[in-house]
Symmetry: C2
Amino acid sequence: MASTSSAALSQALLPRATSHHDSNPSADRVSLSSRSLPSFSGLKSTNSAAIAASSRRIRPCRSLRGVVRASVAETVNKTTETSLIEKSVNTIRFLSIDAVEKANSGHPGLPMGCAPMGHVLYDEVMKYNPKNPYWFNRDRFVLSAGHGCMLHYALLHLAGYDSVKEEDLKSFRQWGSRTPGHPENFETPGIEVTTGPLGQGVANAVGLALAEKHLAARFNKPDNEIVDHYTYVVLGDGCQMEGIANEACSLAGHWGLGKLIAFYDDNHISIDGDTEIAFTESVDKRFEGLGWHVIWVKNGNNGYDEIRAAIREAKAVKDKPTLIKVTTTIGYGSPNKANSYSVHGSALGAKEVDATRQNLQWPYEPFHVPEDVKKHWSRHIPQGAALEAEWNTKFAEYEKNYPEEAAELKSIINGELAAGWEKALPTYTPESPADATRNLSQQNLNALAKVLPGFLGGSADLASSNMTLLKSFGNFQKDTPEERNLRFGVREHGMGAICNGIALHSPGLIPYCATFFVFTDYMRAAIRISALSQAGVIYVMTHDSIGLGEDGPTHQPIEHLASFRAMPNILMLRPADGNETAGAYKVAVLNRKRPSILALSRQKLPNLPGTSIEGVEKGGYIVSDNSSGNKPDVILIGTGSELEIAAKAAEELRKEGKAVRLVSFVSWELFDEQSEAYKESVLPAAVSARVSIEAGTTFGWEKIVGSKGKAIGIDRFGASAPAGKIYKEFGITVEAVIAAAKQVI
Amino acid sequence: MASTSSAALSQALLPRATSHHDSNPSADRVSLSSRSLPSFSGLKSTNSAAIAASSRRIRPCRSLRGVVRASVAETVNKTTETSLIEKSVNTIRFLSIDAVEKANSGHPGLPMGCAPMGHVLYDEVMKYNPKNPYWFNRDRFVLSAGHGCMLHYALLHLAGYDSVKEEDLKSFRQWGSRTPGHPENFETPGIEVTTGPLGQGVANAVGLALAEKHLAARFNKPDNEIVDHYTYVVLGDGCQMEGIANEACSLAGHWGLGKLIAFYDDNHISIDGDTEIAFTESVDKRFEGLGWHVIWVKNGNNGYDEIRAAIREAKAVKDKPTLIKVTTTIGYGSPNKANSYSVHGSALGAKEVDATRQNLQWPYEPFHVPEDVKKHWSRHIPQGAALEAEWNTKFAEYEKNYPEEAAELKSIINGELAAGWEKALPTYTPESPADATRNLSQQNLNALAKVLPGFLGGSADLASSNMTLLKSFGNFQKDTPEERNLRFGVREHGMGAICNGIALHSPGLIPYCATFFVFTDYMRAAIRISALSQAGVIYVMTHDSIGLGEDGPTHQPIEHLASFRAMPNILMLRPADGNETAGAYKVAVLNRKRPSILALSRQKLPNLPGTSIEGVEKGGYIVSDNSSGNKPDVILIGTGSELEIAAKAAEELRKEGKAVRLVSFVSWELFDEQSEAYKESVLPAAVSARVSIEAGTTFGWEKIVGSKGKAIGIDRFGASAPAGKIYKEFGITVEAVIAAAKQVI
C-alpha cells in the first residue's frame, strides 16, 4: 500500500508526539520512539518576563521564504519529508484561499497562519476515523476561532471525510452547502460544536475534556482504558479577550483537565488592527495564574518540530491543561496582506491570490490537491477504520469482563434511554404539601440521576438556592472526576458553553446547569448556541419572577420568558407545581436536540387539581373547566406560580355562575406544535374572552389572548420588597384576574 | 466645633493616605505628613508564590478579640484612637446586622468583613460632600459585591447623607424604601451605579475611572487640575469569577487607569461554600498579567494601618490600576457563623445576633449609633461642604482663565445640550445615494461628536464593520486619554458595563458602543443594567438581520428585536434609511435616562420618500398613503431594511387600485407613548387588514397586526449564503407582502 512508506518515512524521521499511534493497528505499524525521546531542548515553558519583553515583535513576511530554505538545507532526508509537509500545508492554505475567493466572502487569514498546527494535528497527532466522524473514542478538535473554518474544512477534506468533498469546498458559504460561514456541527459531520461567536469554542472544549475525564474515571479499568482521548482547541486573540474564555479556562485549571490542549494562535492581529490597541495583557501569566501549563512555540509558521515537541510536552503534563501559544503570521504567504487585518475577514482578491501563489511557489489551479499530498493523506481512511476496529475489539473485551459498566457506557455512547426511565419521575396529588418548584425540581433531578447514567450538572455557585445537588453523588473535582455534581462557581456564561460541550460529547450525556433565571442574561450567547447546535442542555432557572422578593429588580426577571419564547429551537417551560415540574423534566430529557429552560419558583406553590405530566407535553391544556360544548364564558390562562392565582379566580367566578375554563400554558412552543384540532379544543376561536396572568412582561401575550382579551403582567422593572407585597402592588392578584374577566366577558 | 479636635486627633495620630485632604479648606486644617512618610515597611506588593503557599489558611474567629487587645497595648494615644475606630467599625457591622435582621432578608456577611476597609475609605480617604451626592469632583465608590449593600448604606448614614436616615435603615428591603436589596443609583443618592449582578460594578468602576482620566486629560491645566478624583471599588470572589470582570480589568490595565483602586474582599467563601470547590486560580498572578499593581493586605479584619498603607501605595502607582487583595473573614464577629456561607445571604437570627453582640462587646440597642461615633463622623458634613466650596472657587478661577474649556466642561457636568445641537444631524432626500444604515450611522456619530462635547465611544473590535470611528479624534489610550475613540477589543460585556460607568459619571457624558446586533447576547446583562439604572448609553448594533449574509446563523439576529422590545425602559430603534437613522440618533441623544439600541443594516438601503426625523420621534408613522378618511384597504408595516420591501409592495398594490397605507414602525416603545388619537390616526382600529414585514421573529407582532393581520418574519435560525438568496428562500419578499395583503384585505 502506497501510503505505508510515506507514513513510515514520516514517522521514522520526525520526533512524534502521538503516543496514541502506538495502538494503531493499521498495516503500517511502526515502532514509535516518541515516548522515550528526551524532552526537546529547544523548547521550554514560557518565562513570562522574557515573553513580555519580546512578544510584540512583528515578523515581516518577506523573510518567510528564507526560513523555509534554511530548513530545507538541514539534511537531505528531512528535506524530502519537510518539503512534502510544506506542500501539504500549502495545500491547506490554498484550499482556504481558493474557497474564500470563490465565495468572495470569508476569512483566509487564520487558515493561512494556522495551517502548520492544523496539519500536525490532523496528519500526525489526532486519532479519528474519517468514515465515522461519530466514533466515540475519537480525539475532539474545536476551532474556537470559528471564522477560520476553511482551515477545518480543508483538513477534513484531506483526511477523507465524506462531509467535505471538493464540491463542498467549492460551495463554501452558499445556500444549502455543508461548508457554512462558521463551523456548524449540525451541518457538517466532523465538526464537533458550533463556533464563531468568540470564546464559545474554547469553553465547549472544556466541556468535551470534562466529559472525557468524567467517563474515563467512571469506566476505565486497570486492564482496559476504554475511554481515552484528547481535546484540542485552536483559539485566537479574539477568544482570549472574551470573558467566557477566562471563566471556562479558570475551571479547566481548577479541574486539572490534563487532556485538554489549547493552541493559542498568537498573531497579534484582530479586526481593529494590531492587538496593541486593546490587548496588551500577558496571556501567559494569566494562564499560569489560572493553573495551566504554558508553552510558547515561537515559530508557528513553519516550526513543525517545535509544534510537535510542544504537543509532546503538553501530553506529558497530566494534571494541568496546556496552552500552547503559537506565534504565527496571519495570512502567511500573502506578500502584501500578511500580518495585517486586511487578510482577516475578506477574500484576498485575484491579484493578491496570484501574488501569494508566486510567493509560495504554488503552480496549481484553484482547489487542486497535488497527487503526492493526496497520497500522503490517504492513509487516514484505513488507519481510522483500524483505530475504530481496534477500539471495538477492546470494547468487546470490556463488555465481557464488565457487563454492567459496558451497558451503562453503551447507553451514554448511543443515547438510548432505559425503558421505563420516566417512571422514576415523582408524582403528586393536590394533597401533596405545597412546595417551591425549585424544590420539586430537585426531587426530579435526583430521581433522574438514578435512571440516566449520563445525567450530571450543577449550578453557578447557587446550588443551595437553585436546589441542584444530586444527593447520591459527590463533587466532580480534579481528584474525584467520577462524581456528577459540577461546581461552576459564579461563571454562568462559561457554564452554559461547558454544558454544550458535554452534551455534544456523547448523545447519552445529559447536562443540566442552573442559576437565577434573570442571570440567563449572562449566558444568553451560550444558550443560543445550545438551541442552534441542537445541544439538549437542561437549564434549571430558579427565582423566576418578582416572587423572589427582597433582592429587587436586578434579580427579578421580567422580559426573560418572552425573550426565550422568541428564540428558535428552544423550549421555555414554566411549570406550576409538582406534576408540571415532572412533566417539564420529562419533556426536557426527551428533547435531546433541543435545549429546555425550566423557570422555577423560589416561593411555595400548591399542587393544583388537574395538572399533569401529559398536559405539559402538550404545552397548553385545560386544568379545570365547568363549561360545556367548548364554549366557556371566559378562558383564564396562567403559567407557573400564577396558575394558582388564575385557579383561585376561576373558583370565584364559577361561584358567581360563570362557565370558566382554566388553562395552563406551560410551554408555548409545545402548544404551537399540536394539531389545529387540539388547539381549538383548548382555545376555541369563538371564545375571545380570555385573560392571561403571568408575573412577567405582557409582550407576546396578544397572540394567546387576542385583541379582545386581556393580559395581566408586569411591563416595568421589579422592586425590592417582600414578594407578597410586590405581587399586590403590581396587581398580580386574584382580584385583578376577576376584574379583567368581567371586562372581557 | 466638636468634630474638629477628633478629626485633628485622628489625623495627627495615624498615617494617612489622603493627600487630597491637603487641599481641604475646612476649619480643622492640619498639616498632613503622609506625603513625606516612608512607605510602610510591613507591607509590600504580593509575591505570587508566597501567596499561593499561604493564602488558603482559615482565620479562626475566636482569636479576634486577642488581636484587638494586642493593638490596644501598643501606645496609649493610639489605643484611644483605635478603640474609637473599632467602635465605629462595629457600628457599621451592627447597623448591617440589625437591618438585615429586621428585614429578615439580606447579606450580613460582607458588611461584617468589609467594615474596616469601608471605614477607612469613607472616614479617612474619600473626598465627598454628603449634602451634595452629585458634586462633580467627588471620589466615586462602587460596591461591586452589591449584595453587601448594607455596608454602603451604613457608611452613607454615618457620613451624613440625607438619603440614608435611620428610618431608611429600618426599612431595608421594604416596599418604597431608599434602601433596596441591592444598590440602585436611581433610588439612593450616594450610590453611583446599580450593582448586584456580579462583575458589573467593577466594570462600571473602570468606566468611571476612564471618564475621570479622559476629562482630566482634556480639561486640566498646569495651574488648575480641575478634574481630579479617585474611583474605589470593592469586589468579592463572585465578581472575580465572572468573565466580565476579567474583560474590564484587562482594559483597565491596558489603559493604565492609575486612579482606579480595587479592593478584593478575599474571604474564601461564596454561596456554595469554600472557594476551594470552584475557584483556586491565583488572582494575584492573573491581575499582574492584566497589568495591574497588586498588593496584599493580610489582615483585613482589623489591620487598619495595613489598609491605609496599601491605599497610599496604590496612589503612588500612577500608571497602573491597583488591586488590593484584602483577606477578611466573612461575617467577622459572629461566633458561630463567621467564615461560613451561612452568614453570606441570610439574617443571623436573634440568637446569633445576641452572641455576636456579646462577642464584639456591643451593648447597644439595634440601630444605635454611639454618641462618640456620631461625633467622630459629624465632621464630614462641614468638610464635604468645604471641599465642594473650594472646588467651586477653583472652578471660578478656571472659568476666568479658560472660558471656552470651562463652558465645555460645564456642559458635561450639568448635561445641558447646546442649543440647536440637533441641527448638526444630517438630512437626506430620496435622491441621496442608497447606503447601509451602518454607514449613515457613522455620518451621524461624526456630526454629533462636533456638537456634543461629552460624546465618545467605540466598538468591540469591529470599528471598521460597525462604522463607529470618529474621524476628528484619535484613540483613547494610556498616553492619549484626551481622545474619544474607545477600543474595547472583543469584550462586549465589559464594554457595555464600562459605558454604564461613563454615562453615570456625568450627565453630559454620552457614551456609545458597538458590535454586531447578535452579540448583544454577550452583553445583555450590562444592557439591562443600562435600562434599569437609567444610563443613557447608545448601543450601535449593526449587521441586524439575515441581511449580513454569508457569516450564517451564529451571526444573524432573529429573536433580538423582540427580546429588547420586551425589556423595560429601553428604546429599540430600527431605522430604515438616512432620515430615520438621524431620527434615531436624535431620540437616543435626548433620552439621557433611557438607553437606546440602534439596529442597523450591513446592506445598502435606499432613502425612501416620506421618512422623517419627526416620524421616528413618534415611533410609528405613515410614510405614504393613497387612502382617504383614515380607511385604507390595507396597512403595510415595515421596519428597518424591510421598509423598502413594504414600500415596493405598496406601490404594486396601488397600481392594482388598492388604497394602501405604508407605516414605518421604527420604535414600538415610542409609539406606545403617543396619544390614543395619534395611534388611531396611524393604525385605525377599524382596519384589521394589516401586514407586517421584518427580518426577525414574528413573536410579538400580533399586538400590531391583530388576530386578523399577518406578520411576515423569520421563526427559525438563519443560514449561511449571500443575503439576497436568504431573503428569497425565507420569503422576506415583495411578493410575500403582496400575497399576504391580498389574503387579509
